[in-house]
């Protein structure tokens, strides 16, 4: 088992290495470089005449005159050794400062969404599979189609509209005004949780629809297995048969797709965050792309991907524990 974990960990490192190169390429893609944009941003409108020499100086200050592979080395080296993601010119401070607590809010949103998705999808899908062809089953099929067809950001807009017109209150933001600047307290945490409900529902929307489909399909497969009939033939009570045999196996595909779900949530997060006004990484990512603040964008893209890769790693290992057939083949 240890060898299996080490193998997977090595895979994680290799993936992250290649991902970091891709992220770096994306950071370098926009026309012009950091120095140009820095100079433009800093001096435009101030009347100062920026010469080519000034830009050259800025370039030297930031080490931008070096070849690309050296700059990549500096960038990734700073991240690994000092956890330093570079400078944000839009905010004129370090990337770490800009990201700050947005990271934890992002993770809080992710966590709430995942919990909500699994709490909803697994029992509902199992119920639908057991009561196959019932009205509830058909209703769920319709819902899962809708879940796939109605993009999350449209759902967010819809919920905004409903909350404003019917409840006369906004669902945006992560904190009520009175807690915005307040120090952390139980009340503030509760306030945060209250505000996390809507984003979590919006983000869990399509993930839940998708998971219901997968779990239901696996469950239907498993229900027809001979092992279930064999367990019934042993006189095991029906509820125990269902829980111990098909349900136990229907959990496996859920575990194996945790990374995929995180990927999906992070993919949808920026736009939902923009609509709902959530101060987290996705919204900042859009802003930094629009400003071409590429160190911030790169840092966020790297972080989001890092969480996905870590989740993949965790789900691989969890699956090996859950399914005895896996560790035998590869460990």
């Amino acid at each position: 088992m240890l060898r299996f974990i080490l193998q997977r960990f090595f895979g994680l490192m290799v993936t992250m290495f290649f991902v970091s190169i891709m992220v770096f390429v994306i950071m370098e893609l926009p026309p012009g470089d950091y120095a140009d944009r820095y100079a433009f941003r800093k001096y435009s409108g101030t009347g100062v005449n920026v010469t080519q020499g000034d830009i050259e100086n800025i370039r030297r200050d930031f080490g931008l005159h070096k070849p690309a592979w050296q700059r990549y080395g500096d960038w990734i080296g700073g991240i690994i050794t000092k956890f330093d993601f570079g400078e944000s010119f839009a905010f004129e401070t370090s990337v770490n400062n800009v990201i700050g607590k947005r990271l934890w809010l992002t993770l809080a949103i992710l966590f709430c969404t995942l919990v909500l998705t699994y709490l909803l999808a697994i029992p509902i899908a199992i119920y639908a599979a057991i009561r196959r062809h019932s009205i509830a089953d058909y209703a769920l099929t319709v819902f899962s189609y809708l879940g796939l067809a109605l993009p999350n950001f449209l759902l967010a807009l819809l919920l905004l509209y409903v909350s404003v017109t019917i409840f006369d209150s906004s669902v945006g933001g992560l904190f009520s005004p009175q807690y915005e600047k307040a120090a952390w307290s139980l009340a503030k945490l509760l306030d945060l949780l209250k505000h996390l409900v809507v984003p979590a529902i919006v983000l869990a929307w399509s993930a839940t629809a998708l998971q219901i489909q997968t779990v239901r399909a696996t469950m239907l497969d498993e229900l027809n297995k001979l092992s279930v009939t064999a367990a019934r033939a042993r006189g095991i009570p029906e509820w125990k048969v269902l829980l111990k045999y098909p349900t136990r196996l229907a959990i496996n595909p859920v575990v194996s797709t945790i990374g995929f779900d995180v990927n999906r949530i992070f993919s949808e997060l920026p736009i939902v965050a923009l609509v709902l006004g959530l101060p987290e990484l996705g919204e900042l990512l859009i802003q930094s792309y629009l400003d071409l603040d590429m160190y911030v964008a790169g840092a966020i893209l790297l972080m989001l991907t890092f969480f996905i890769v870590v989740m993949n790693f965790i789900s691989d290992i969890a699956l090996a524990f859950l399914d005895p057939r896996i560790s035998l083949q590869e460990g």
Partner: protein, 391 residues
């Protein structure tokens, strides 16, 4: 599996009385057994009512998009200054004055708000404006070739806004039709690019195999780890600001194709590899068929239907990606119209509070994605006509 049949004691049950077989098979069975694969696919697809609905809806959307200039009464930039942020107008057949065989809408009266001095449009139930068909309106070039001035419908006097107007007084219905054309065509082009790339790269991987195959596999795996929309956004952010909308349009289709091909290539590859080991391929080889004949006659037909299904299924992702990118301002930019751009107007809460009809283009997005999903599901089931349906 260790499924060794005990030949020596097995009850042999080979059929030796063909007359019984023939009598029992009804006419329909014979038709079924002699039909070609594509006939079977078509019969099976027809049974999926929802997939047929999906196909019909998409056809209507394509027609809407292609003939947007003709069906839409106004151009995407025409501004109706007397009807700014006006709600949708529903053609009526009756009002308190009685019935009418010709559909009409009530006239609009504009007045100024005494406090804010803003123009307010109010419905005047006293006047009727009748609808006319094949009216002459603003000139346009259909498909960019034919000079035309005829529009499908209009009002005899004043303007008809089926979906209302935006804050500049532009007709949302006409704009939505044009946006349908843009968004669908980006989806179609994106899927085509992905398809061509998948065939080329998948073919290279399959042909050279070994290390190249392995390398391509690893690269696609790494690309798939990065969240898709943030990745698209990163690539779209790199578009130079001075690019024209046409350039952005093609660049976007290219990006969608570039990111979208691995899924297609993987499926094509795995279908090929899976079919390669099937008994019927072995049987064809043993009976002396050439490699070209096996691929052309046996392998390709076995998965062209799957490729079509995969293409249809990848459409919604392309459409949603385009909508999302344009929505946040990283995709197409005004004055072009696409579903995402139209929805930009509905981005802030004040706008949707005052003018919920700005949401109407969203219905098109949802319906299009739903139709593609239904169509894809029906096709997926029909694609394998020999499998036993579990419906």
């Amino acid at each position: 599996m260790d499924k060794t049949t005990t030949l020596n004691n097995d009850v042999n049950l080979s059929a030796e009385e063909p007359e019984i077989d023939q009598n029992n098979k009804s006419h329909e069975d014979i038709k079924y057994y002699t039909a070609s694969q594509w006939q079977l696919v078509w019969w099976r697809f027809r049974r999926h009512k929802l997939a047929m609905v999906g196909a019909g809806v998409l056809l209507i959307m394509v027609i809407f998009g292609a003939f947007a200039d003709f069906i839409g009464p106004y151009s995407i930039t025409t501004r109706d200054r007397s009807y700014i942020m006006g709600p949708p107008q529903m053609p009526l057949l009756s009002d308190q004055k009685g019935f009418s065989l010709r559909p009409f809408v009530h006239g609009i009266k504009t007045s100024r708000d005494p406090v804010t001095l803003r123009k307010i449009a109010t419905v005047d139930p006293e006047t009727r404006r009748y609808m006319q068909f094949f009216v002459t309106g603003s000139s346009y070039k259909l498909f960019g070739i034919f000079d035309m001035e005829t529009h499908l419908f209009g009002l005899e006097q004043g303007r008809l806004h089926l979906f209302g107007t935006d804050e500049l007084g532009r007709d949302i219905f006409s704009r939505t039709l044009h946006a349908t054309g843009t968004s669908l065509s980006i989806g179609i082009l994106g899927v085509l690019v992905a398809f061509v790339l998948a065939l080329i790269i998948g073919g290279v991987a399959g042909y050279f195999g070994g290390k190249i195959d392995y390398l391509i596999q690893r690269i696609t795996e790494i690309v798939r780890v990065i969240p898709v929309i943030p990745l698209y956004m990163g690539l779209a952010a790199a578009f130079p600001k001075e690019w024209s909308n046409m350039q952005v349009y093609f660049a976007m289709t290219l990006i969608f194709g570039l990111i979208g091909w691995p899924t297609l290539a993987r499926r094509t590859r795995s279908h090929l590899l899976g079919q390669r080991g099937e008994d019927y391929v072995m049987a064809a080889e043993l009976s002396g068929a050439s490699a070209a004949r096996i691929i052309g006659k046996h392998l390709l037909p076995s998965f062209t239907s799957y490729i079509i299904v995969d293409l249809v299924i990848s459409f919604p992702y392309m459409i949603l990606s385009e909508t999302a990118l344009s929505f946040i301002g990283l995709g197409l930019r005004p004055p072009s119209v696409s579903w995402g751009i139209l929805l930009q107007d509905a981005q802030n809460i004040r706008a949707i509070e005052q003018a919920p009809w700005l949401f109407l283009p969203a219905a098109f997005v949802v319906i299009a994605v739903l139709a593609f999903t239904l169509l894809g599901d029906g096709l997926r089931d029909a694609a394998d006509p020999y499998s036993v349906s579990n419906h």
